[in-house]
């Protein structure tokens, strides 16, 4: 069962200096902004961050980079119109970049969570991003060996959790959440709302609670707002309700 905490500061306490942190989100969708704010306040530094982007605007990961807490970013798409904090750090030689094709990034995370020691992918074959990597021809097609990518801590965002740690997401904010949840030693989730166990339809759970270690509630869509109808939320019996 996951630890439930009301404090985002307590939620991110597992991140230490030098940790590798997996951060969910594609652009701002699904980015766990409040957990990253808490990480900023924690003072942890010398971090390696794995995320699709390298921060947008003046929020979330962008601020962590602005404050030079991030030693290295492993991502697919750092350069954007509003990635000025990354651009400045990179231009000054104050951040290391490992550029990974987006599908390889997702699959390397998935491999880490699934206990796979590496995989051969056609993506990137013959390009400079595969330079120096082992290649192999399999059934007439060329592939590149890629390795799993695991984190010390994953920070992700979901819509609802129950007290068993089961998660459902919202629309395209799901993105890297499910693969990152499985790929880190400790997975921390910020959710809009924590529901009693039994409230989520088992058929509709996207991330099973086994992958979730810490849950904290951050109502970003307006505190006290009525929960949005979601197909995973069901009526439940009193016996099914745990932790209400």
């Amino acid at each position: 069962m996951p630890e439930i905490t009301q404090s985002t500061a307590a939620a991110v306490a597992g991140v230490k200096d030098g940790s590798t942190v997996l951060m969910g989100g594609f652009g701002n969708a699904g980015q766990p902004m409040e957990l990253i704010d808490a990480l900023l306040d924690s003072g942890a530094r010398n971090l390696t961050v794995v995320s699709n982007n390298a921060g947008q605007g003046d929020a979330g990961l962008a601020l962590l980079i602005k404050e030079r807490r991030v030693r290295k970013v492993i991502c697919s798409f750092p350069r954007q119109s509003d990635s000025w904090h990354f651009d400045a750090a990179y231009g000054a030689g104050e951040i290391e970049l490992e550029l990974v094709p987006q599908g390889n990034l997702a699959e390397r995370l998935r491999a880490a969570g699934a206990g796979i020691g590496g995989f051969f992918t056609p993506t990137g074959y013959g390009t400079e991003l595969a330079a120096g990597k082992e290649t192999r021809q399999i059934e007439g097609r060329n592939y590149v060996l890629e390795h799993p990518l695991r984190g010390d801590v994953a920070l992700i965002k979901a819509l609802y959790a129950d007290h068993a740690g089961n998660l459902v997401y919202r629309k395209t904010a799901r993105n890297f959440g499910p693969v990152m949840a499985a790929a880190a030693a400790q997975t921390v989730v910020q959710v809009e709302q924590l529901l009693p166990t039994g409230s989520l339809d088992p058929e509709a759970v996207v991330t099973p609670g086994i992958y979730v270690d810490v849950v904290t509630v951050v109502a970003t869509r307006g505190a006290g707002a009525a929960p949005e109808p979601h197909p995973a939320v069901r009526e439940h019996t009193a016996e099914e309700m745990v932790g209400a």
Partner: protein, 218 residues
Amino acid sequence: MSGTGTRLSRQELARLVARDIAPGSYVNLGIGQPTMVADYLTAEQHVTLHTENGMLGMGPQAHGDRIDDELINAGKIPVTELPGASYFHHADSFAMMRGGHLDVCVLGAFQVSASGDLANWSTGAPDAIPAVGGAMDLAIGAKEVFVMMSLFARDGTAKLVPECTYPVTGLGCVTRVYTDCGVFHILEQDGARRLKLVEPYGLSADQIQDQLEVELSA
């Protein structure tokens, strides 16, 4: 074969690509010019759009109170969902791409080689910040890769080249090239890949051949 009419505008090019997408296809439209293709797909084509950040059944861009910051496309533009849509995580999204389940992917390009190598992710400029996103996955994943680009760069050099001089995104992956001056198919013939001009626009086939360093197949 003589040139018909004038060079194609970007809109006409998008219309041409949309025309050539088979009914019932699953399609990924890359960021930039390829997104215009969506405007010319007809309801009768029943095309399902994939966006690599985790959705099939993507609808048009969202406006006004339909904007939802958790429903965006790969270009981070707010979009809508159509009936029959589905959401999935990134590893699934790229698995369906890499696994060859998408029928067509439409991409922009800096250069395409005569054998179908694609260069569209980096100009190789030493001071640029590199970014690749899903470009390399898209290039090698779909059954057909259509490129939309102008045939000539601003400095007049052809973008259909014997060998890419920009860093490549994928090798031998492009099947068709839609340009303002004509549509080219890259065909497997006798174990080699050949470039064939199928529809010239604004210039005659001979004029196009004269300005390319690659040999067009008959």
